[in-house]
């Protein structure tokens, strides 16, 4: 039977969670040495399907066949033993331990004395592994001292160290620069040549077309279709993903800019950034480009009052503003959407409604008490405005997909009716459909008079959305461009410091 070709078959998998049918009769077949791209909007069921494969969840129905044999994957440990390993979207490293310890955790080489670790061998093994991946890290270095991109590479190294036959990668390039992405692709091609099979989950369609042998689309927990390497068709793929045609990705808005509403002068935090000066006008979008770790997030966190500035001034509508706490920033009409929504923006165990209203709770209060109707009104408006997909407004945010969680974050900040909106990587890890929605929203907001500051590591996004672009390198502004002048090359050059 042709079954020998398939190293993995997931047949008719169904899974249900309180309030939502996550997967219905989903089929996935993976050939040996194949790179299968798993594509779909947030909430389509990709993560759930992979978690079932990994043994994190058990399916309600359906079978998993590995190398033709029916298997039950009880937990991730079992999965590892059966040759399945995963590199998660969210990093799972122990930041206070070294790279070597993280990679080999649970499998440390034993010393001659029982129960003790052979450290020398541990570090040796790690060095070899890192070398084979072109990584220049000291195996003793603590994970927390690495950049986000560096940590992601360590995750990849760890997954590879299991010599798995099936490797799942979930948005592996979301935190990587172009250079690092090239490196990853080389590694993946290397794996293919030794017959390792990969399931590659990503929203970056161009990457998928470059890398994958096949692309499989999920929508609303069901199979929709597939494309093979020779016949990759972006438009068709996207319409399979969203169920409708998407035309413009980055609605270019050419709006007459208004007055200067925001001015930063000589902002400085020792060790993070200095000499940061820029202006933003009404109806204008300022894009902040640069590599990871350049200091962009630190700049906006200081502007918003989360971190304290060492020196520098901020002017709002020409008036000097002293912002030492996010509360003041909000009062002055600034909204901030942080880079890491789970860490900095959402209380996952609280409901959609509570997360949306937390920023403006005061407005719903008469004396000390919350007016539930006013709160609910705002919440429902926001859900409608942003097309947040949730079974109910009391649903815990934890259960929403990544894209919808990001929409909740947006909702909570739009509720404050800001005049200046700062977004840090607003569409990272979000599917094409939601991305376009968010871009459209940003355009509309600009049209209504908002000044928008957007940090992004995706050059097409920066180039397509911004009216003006500043490029940060090593904590300083290395380049400034208007939309007309900017090109990918120019921005990259500044970003790497030329």
């Amino acid at each position: 039977m042709i079954k020998n070709d398939f190293i993995l078959q997931m047949k008719d998998i169904s899974k249900h969670f309180p309030g939502v049918q996550a997967l219905s009769n989903v089929n996935l077949n993976l050939k040996k040495g194949e790179v299968l791209a798993l594509v779909g909007e947030n909430g389509a069921g990709k993560s759930t399907l992979m978690k079932i494969l990994l043994g994190v969840y058990q399916p309600d129905a359906g079978d998993i066949l590995i190398k033709g044999n029916k298997e039950v994957v009880h937990n991730p440990n079992t999965a590892l033993h059966k040759g399945i390993s995963m590199i998660h979207q969210e990093l799972t490293l122990i930041s206070q331990r070294s790279i070597a310890e993280n990679i080999w955790i649970g499998r440390e080489p034993k010393a001659s004395i029982p129960c003790f670790i052979n450290w020398k061998e541990l570090y040796n093994k790690t060095e070899h592994l890192l070398e084979s991946l072109e990584l220049d890290f000291n195996p003793r270095k603590l994970v927390r001292d690495l950049s986000v991109a560096g940590q992601q590479m360590v995750e990849i190294a760890r997954a590879l160290s299991y010599n798995a036959e099936i490797i799942i990668m979930d948005e592996p390039t979301s935190a990587l620069t172009e250079v690092e992405v090239e490196r990853l692709f080389r590694i993946i091609n290397g794996l293919k040549s030794v017959k390792v099979s990969l399931i590659y989950i990503s929203h970056k369609i161009d990457e998928i077309f470059e890398l994958a042998d096949r692309a499989m689309v999920l929508r609303d927990g069901q199979n929709v279709g597939e494309q093979e390497h020779g016949q990759f068709d972006k438009k068709n793929l996207i319409s399979m993903m969203v169920g409708r045609d998407i035309t413009a990705f980055f609605p270019k808005k050419k709006l007459p800019p208004g007055d200067v509403v925001f001015e930063a002068k000589n902002l400085r935090i020792k060790g993070s950034f200095e000499n940061i000066s820029f202006k933003v006008r009404e109806r204008e979008m300022l894009g902040i480009a640069g590599l990871m770790g350049a200091g962009r997030t630190e700049i906006v966190r200081a502007i918003f009052g989360i971190d304290k500035l060492d020196s520098g001034e901020i002017y709002l509508n020409g008036n000097a503003a002293n912002i030492s706490h996010p509360h003041q920033a909000i009062q002055k009409g600034i909204g901030f959407i942080p880079e890491d929504r789970k860490k900095d923006s959402l209380a996952l165990v609280r409901s959609v409604k509570e997360n949306i209203s937390i920023t403006i709770l005061g407005e719903f209060c008469r004396k000390l008490f919350i007016s539930k109707s006013a709160e609910l009104n705002n919440c429902q408006n926001m859900i409608k405005l942003l097309s947040i997909r949730t079974p109910h407004y009391n649903q815990l945010v934890n259960f929403l997909s990544g894209g919808n969680q990001q929409k909740v974050v947006l909702a909570k900040w739009l509720s404050t009716k800001p005049r200046i909106l700062i977004l840090d990587e607003p569409t990272r890890g979000i599917d094409v459909g939601a991305k376009a929605e968010i871009h459209r929203l940003m355009s509309n907001l600009a049209e209504e008079g908002l000044a928008i500051i957007m940090i992004s590591s995706e050059l097409p996004e920066i180039l397509g959305m911004s009216d003006r672009i500043i490029v940060i390198h090593g904590g300083r502004i290395k380049g400034e461009f208007s939309r007309e002048d900017a090109t990918q090359e120019k921005i990259l050059e500044c970003a790497v410091g030329n």
Binding site: H327, A329, K343, D344, S345, R350, E354, I358, F369, N398
Partner: protein, 319 residues
């Protein structure tokens, strides 16, 4: 045949009211096992027994909801109790001033806890552990190790009187519980408490003054502990420096059994009341069934473990 949807609905209801159902199950069992249990005299007794700890437990709910903990409440309770004792014994001031002073003293100690936890980032466990010793020391120093006894009828009414058939400690407890429920569910402050427990950093970025709220929460539990100390003193007709020993554990037990998560963000005051009732009723039941008092300690521990196991196994945080 029950449809999957119906089964899920039932499952959801069972989950949300699981502690109350357990409480009812225990009540049912005990009313069969003992013919004294369901009498009004006995039931009133049970509620009276849990009232002092419940006052503290309401405050503890707030603290644990923020993701913190307060181990000093038993000791602070003692301080409140002995200060109230001496004040009322020496007839320095009218009753309501005595009450205010007991609360204020507890509040000050709580304020210190809150300030150091929120601004100096001392871990709550460590901070309140230290305060536990300090406060206990204060109560011994203040009383020179001896109980203060014999108070006026007015004062004793708080601990031993009743309104209709409801004992005063219970009246006070219920008032505090109702206030707690209202504050947590209907006020901005209550919502902030939940959110801080859900994600402290996100709360800060959302504009909440986390430091202030945390300080206030610890002050609140301190004040409630002071009040509880006063009520206990009135009940026992004695202000004892060793009062409230291990009350912090009982309060935490009630909170946890009642469904509040130790990591914060999830829970309720009404749950805490149910938790306190479960503990109280089990103790009472074991008494009525003539079980050795030492076994009651074990029983309490089993209930706590059982509640936490039930919670983690059915947790909505994710399977």
């Amino acid at each position: 045949m029950i449809s999957t949807e119906a089964r899920q609905r039932i499952g959801n209801i069972l989950y949300r009211y699981k502690m109350i159902l357990i409480l009812l199950a225990i009540v049912l069992f005990l009313s069969i096992a003992s013919n004294v249990f369901l009498t009004s005299g006995n039931l009133i007794n049970v509620v009276k027994q849990i009232s002092v700890i419940s006052i503290v437990a309401v405050g503890m709910t707030f603290v644990i909801l923020t993701g913190g903990i307060d181990l000093s409440v038993g000791a602070v309770l003692a301080v409140g109790g002995v200060i109230a004792a001496r004040m009322t014994k020496n007839e320095i001031a009218p009753l309501f001033v005595v009450i205010l002073t007991a609360c204020a003293t507890g509040g000050v100690l709580g304020f210190i806890n809150g300030t150091l936890v929120s601004r100096l980032k001392v871990p709550p466990f460590v901070m309140t552990l230290g305060m536990m010793s300090i406060a206990r020391g204060i109560s011994y120093v203040y009383t020179e190790g001896r109980p203060i006894v014999n108070f006026s009828k007015n004062f004793l009414f708080i601990g031993q009187g009743s309104i209709w058939v409801i004992p005063m400690p219970v009246v006070i407890m219920l008032s505090i519980v109702v206030l707690g429920v209202i504050v947590l569910n209907y006020t901005k402050f209550g919502r902030y408490v939940y959110y801080i427990g859900g994600n402290t950093e996100a709360a800060r970025v959302s504009g909440i003054n986390v430091e202030w709220i945390l300080t206030f929460v610890y002050t609140l539990v301190g004040a409630l502990a002071g009040l509880a100390g006063l009520v206990l003193t009135a009940r026992l007709n004695a202000g004892q420096p060793q009062a409230g020993l291990s009350y912090e554990l009982d309060a935490i037990a009630a909170v946890v059994i009642g469904g509040t998560s130790l990591s914060g963000g999830i829970g309720s005051v009404s749950g805490t009341l149910v938790g306190a009732l479960i503990i109280g009723i089990i103790n009472n039941g074991l008494n009525l069934l003539n079980v050795d008092p030492f076994y009651q300690l074990i029983a309490k521990g089993v209930v706590i473990c059982g509640a936490v196991i039930l919670d983690t196994q059915t947790s909505i945080k994710g399977k």
